[in-house]
């Protein structure tokens, strides 16, 4: 099989992994070496689905001993199988990097023979890339569930970022769709990686100490393969951020690739709007000081398809509005629908120089479409309607979303 075919097969098999970020590391180049890492990350292209291409995202192999029902590479699927050699992968990475196609390598793999065997193949590749090819660019490696901790540690010394995918948001879902995987095989290495990262941050003050996963660890949850609610998913994410110190939780709208009685039919599209809402809520957890229980609860376990989660929250907390643009603290400005954290801090800086009028906000390009109902400027309200959830809902509801909705509602028929 030639390299072009292998690339086609093993990129195709890797594409359902959404993470492609190259941020969080600032590894510098060394004399005679090639590459460095840029702290904010760099996108190099955007594929036809609009997702960013930053890293060369490939599987080492798609030959798998597991038969997870949601996965395109499950052992019982009749698809073309291929494997790279470490040298092929190194050569591809370096040659793509020299042409500025990519920011680095994201190496994942199906499980061939055993988790340890697979992990060893991946480590051999990274060692070659770092030491023989003197590559100092970004490397993200997927840790194989069930691999020995010694191997996880070895991989972490070579990579910038590591991830272990949880995939299914509940143990019940895992049992139903991936019976060969144990929850403990996912959470144990996650905890192990967190401990080693903390250790390495403390040791970094000493000369000659090696850095371990400097860009932190991430994970991925599949949305819509099981019946888990948004509430369940968001609570899990919150727990992962606080307990395991994850940098990111990625969400992947389930693309039905296999026919199975326990899965949505292959004739349904991926629940893209739901994925979008969960991402918006994830942002609110990480940057806006929201807690999962503020956004959703047992009586309201899923996001409204027509409202972004912040609007949804604001309509249920109208007693906290309107807020005065010239007085409200930064944390409260960030809770106003339509005002992001960057705009909120611009407002705070600007009002130090002089009081802001409604016209000033327009000039500063604050998006007032939603915000106008939740603010006052120097005591004046510009919303034009009473602060009443029933009146505001139709003004705030996203009408364009209805089209996307149509494809999503029929998920479980």
């Amino acid at each position: 099989m030639n390299l072009l075919d292998k690339l086609q097969i093993l990129a195709d098999s890797a594409k359902y992994d959404v993470s492609c970020s190259s941020s969080g590391s600032n590894r510098s180049n060394r004399p005679g070496g090639i590459g460095n890492a840029s702290l904010p990350g760099i996108c190099h292209s955007w594929s036809d689905d609009g997702r960013c291409i930053s890293l060369l995202k490939l599987l080492f192999t798609n030959v798998c001993i597991y038969d997870c029902k949601y996965c395109v590479n499950r052992s019982s699927n009749d698809i073309r199988r291929a494997s790279f050699t470490p040298d092929e992968l190194c050569e591809l990475t370096i040659q793509f990097y020299r042409r500025n196609y990519i920011e680095g390598l994201f190496l994942s793999s199906a499980v061939v023979k055993s988790p340890d065997y697979t992990m060893e193949l991946m480590i051999r590749t990274l060692k070659k890339l770092r030491h023989e090819y003197r590559f100092n660019g970004y490397i993200h490696i997927k840790s194989i569930p069930g691999a020995d901790m010694r191997l996880v540690y070895e991989a972490g010394l070579l990579a910038d970022r590591m991830s272990i995918n949880i995939e299914l948001p509940s143990a019940a879902g895992l049992k139903l769709l991936a019976p060969q995987k144990e929850p403990v095989a996912i959470l144990k290495p996650m905890d192990f990686i967190r401990e080693r990262i903390e250790e390495s941050r403390e040791l970094v003050l000493y000369k000659g100490s090696q850095s371990f996963v400097p860009a932190g660890q991430t994970t991925q949850l599949i949305v819509g393969a099981t019946r888990d609610s948004d509430l369940k998913i968001l609570h899990l994410s919150e727990h992962l951020y606080s307990r395991y110190q994850l940098k990111r939780v990625y969400y992947s709208a389930y693309v039905p690739v296999n026919e199975d009685e326990n899965l949505p039919s292959v004739h349904t599209g991926p629940p893209l709007l739901r994925e979008h809402r969960i991402y918006q809520a994830d942002w609110l957890l990480r940057f806006y000081g929201f807690k999962a229980h503020e956004l959703l609860d047992e009586g309201h376990p899923n996001f409204d398809a027509h409202l972004d989660p912040k609007c949804d929250w604001a309509l249920r907390h109208l007693d906290q509005f309107p807020v005065e643009i010239n007085k409200a603290p930064l944390e409260m400005l960030m809770r106003v629908p339509g005002i992001g954290h960057r705009m909120a801090s611009r407002i705070v800086r600007a009002r130090r120089v002089g009081p802001l009028t409604f016209e000033d906000l327009k000039r500063m390009r604050v998006v007032l479409k939603r915000a106008r109902y939740f603010i006052t400027c120097n005591g004046r309200y510009y919303g034009g309607v009473d602060l009443d959830a029933g009146l505001l809902y139709p003004l705030l509801a996203d009408k364009a979303d209805k089209k996307v909705m149509a494809g999503q509602i029929s998920l479980f028929g």
Binding site: L3, L4, L7, Q8, A11, D12, A14, K15, Y16, S28, N29, P31, G32, G33, I34, G35, N36, S38, P40, I42, C43, H44, S45, W46, S47, D48, D49, G50, R51, C52, I53, S54, L56, K57, L92, Q95, F96, R98, R99, N100, Y101, E103, G137, A253, V255, G269, P270, L272, R346, R349, A350, R352, V353, G354, L356, T357, D360, R363, M364
Partner: protein
Amino acid sequence: MIYVTDGSFEGILTAVFEAYSNKEEPDTITLGSDYQLSLGTEIREIATDAEKSDRVWRGIQSRISEKCLEDLYRAYLSEHHQAGLYIYRYVRLGLKLGRKVEGYLQHPDVQAIHDLSRRVASEVHLFLGLLRFRRLKNGIFYACYEPDSNITQLIAGHFAARLSDQPWIIHDKKRDVLALYNGVEVVFATGLPPIAEEACDEEYEALWKQYFKAIAIESRRNPKLQRSFMPARYWKNLAEKQL
């Protein structure tokens, strides 16, 4: 009153100096001699003067901030036809208000510089990713591009640090500005003889195109989203966007 400069950043700073010393308020500060003249407007030719521009430079540094200088320089690189005037007005306001001018975004003069500086900074970031090198027959890696702003000198350092073991050329075809790296240092040039662009690189370009195709999820196809991140005007220099 129109101030006509030679189009250099120093020229604009000299114009700022002249406006102060002549106690007049220019209506326009041109970037070069290509400008529109309407009947009856007065013209003042500004001779770029290192000492005068230095004094303005140092005045900005000490009375506003270092970051302000960077913002003004980026705004200048946008080549917006009013960039000279915006810079003058911003400096005038900044010398009065000091550092806090940077946050004074409700003021149109501050907003103007802020917008131009951001436009340039985001194009710089975009091209750190979108620039494409091809290996020429002589072993040099060559990248051509057509950015909206004059950003070649802002991106060259990044590639010198990253691709330090290969000789490369970055060529802004729109302005005929080149950055050349020989493995040791970067030199900027303009007006060089045309470069033979034949690459001996088809193999890796084909692999890259194959990868680009394979990585997209068909059921998530979203050309509008793709174009919003990667505007179509940049496509002609992107290998993956050529059939």
